[in-house]
Symmetry: C2
Subunit: 207 residues, 2 copies
DNA sequence: GGTAATACTGTCCATTTGGACAGTATGCAC
DNA sequence: GTGCATACTGTCCAAATGGACAGTATTACC
């Protein structure tokens, strides 16, 4: 693979900036204008070189049809928005997303699985799960629906507030083990509504 | 906000499919062609309605300049690929990305800051940082360059292997505090190459 | 010295494209 | 009935656009 010249790299970067910013793909004349070329042929020539080197694709004859090859790959790993709740609401209707405080975009690769409609995120407050190395301020990504397996961390609804608990089985019976001293240590799991199973943890550290 | 008609929704979806697939934004005539309209004015009319309803933006006069408003928001949160190393190499040259084991796409929101060229990820092995609630298998996102502040977790190069340590200041002198019993507790920080400061933690839990 | 790639200027042209306008038909609210 | 949004067909046009071609200069490589 040939490497790009500085000028070619600059033009590639310009196209990437425009496209990733959500603006329409620049035309040859717009590229020339941005770089101060008097002739648009200069831009066309560079575009041709970028196509030849495989970093750019063009639909011949189509206006604004430049497609960055590396970006096309990134698109396949597109971010999916999942709703982030401060606390989980009781119902799980279709209006779920609108009830969310906000949405966080995650990529499939970063959480290790493809989010579904039953995927949501929860902002952790308090040190209730420090024993499981989940800290105050962390964001946990959960999946609603699947039966938890022993040892997994789940979100349960207590007093209209969701709390993280560890799912355990004792004497063949399922319990929720509270890691928070404010709640009893073991709660029969069928007395509580389990909202979801924790599938990923996201921690942002201070700058 | 007016809701979209079925036809308008279909046209919006078509534009979204094309754009997210990495293909150039469809022209009015291409939209008409896809839906079997004999006249491209039909497409233009729908586009105008979508703009009026606020779901679509157009740069007047520019070819293929349709921009989905919801997508523009997602684009600002676009995924950025950051290199993920099993172990950090000694140098930080331009070939950094090629030396990486793989890349993980992350979104700005999910790690809380915009990744730069000095951002990289590291797969944690061992329980050396369990005291800091960073576990075996976690992925830490680091930034190379900035001076660490006391209490922050840094990656340091020891025996050509990078290890996570806590940056502390004792008696006015900077030290790296090892949370791993295999290494001495305090190491003068200037004896080691600090590769980066941990800025985010990513944990994928088993299914 | 010759060849090729890069890096432009400048011009001409066919095609693509968006915009405007005229017209038809349907359904819905008032 | 009137007005309005929707949902089209069909036509004309000016501007935007990509493509091809002619030409110049520089640099690197053989």
């Amino acid at each position: 693979m040939h490497s790009l010249t500085d000028q070619q790299q600059a033009i590639r970067d310009f196209i990437e900036r425009e496209v990733t910013a959500g603006r329409p793909c620049p035309s040859q004349r717009e590229i020339a204008g941005h770089f101060g070329f008097a002739s648009k042929t200069a831009a066309a020539c560079h575009v041709r070189a970028l196509v030849k080197k495989g970093v750019l694709a063009v639909d011949a004859g189509k206006a604004r049809s430049l497609q960055l090859v590396s970006l096309a790959r990134a698109n396949r790993r597109a971010a999916v928005e999942i709703p982030l709740f401060g606390s989980i609401p009781a119902g799980f209707g279709r209006d779920r997303e609108e009830e969310a405080d906000e949405c966080i975009p995650v990529t499939i690769d970063s959480i290790g699985f493809k989010p579904t409609r039953n995927t949501f995120a929860l902002r952790v407050s308090g040190d209730s799960m420090m024993g499981k190395h989940i800290l105050d301020g962390d964001i946990v990504v959960l999946e609603h629906g699947p039966e938890p397996r022993p040892g997994q961390v789940v979100a349960a609804l207590i007093d209209r507030k969701s709390t993280l608990k560890t799912f355990v089985v004792k004497n063949g019976k399922p319990f929720l083990k509270a890691e928070n001293p404010k709640y009893p240590d073991l709660i029969p799991s069928d007395e509580l509504m389990i909202q979801g199973v924790v599938r990923a943890v996201l921690r942002r550290l201070e700058k």
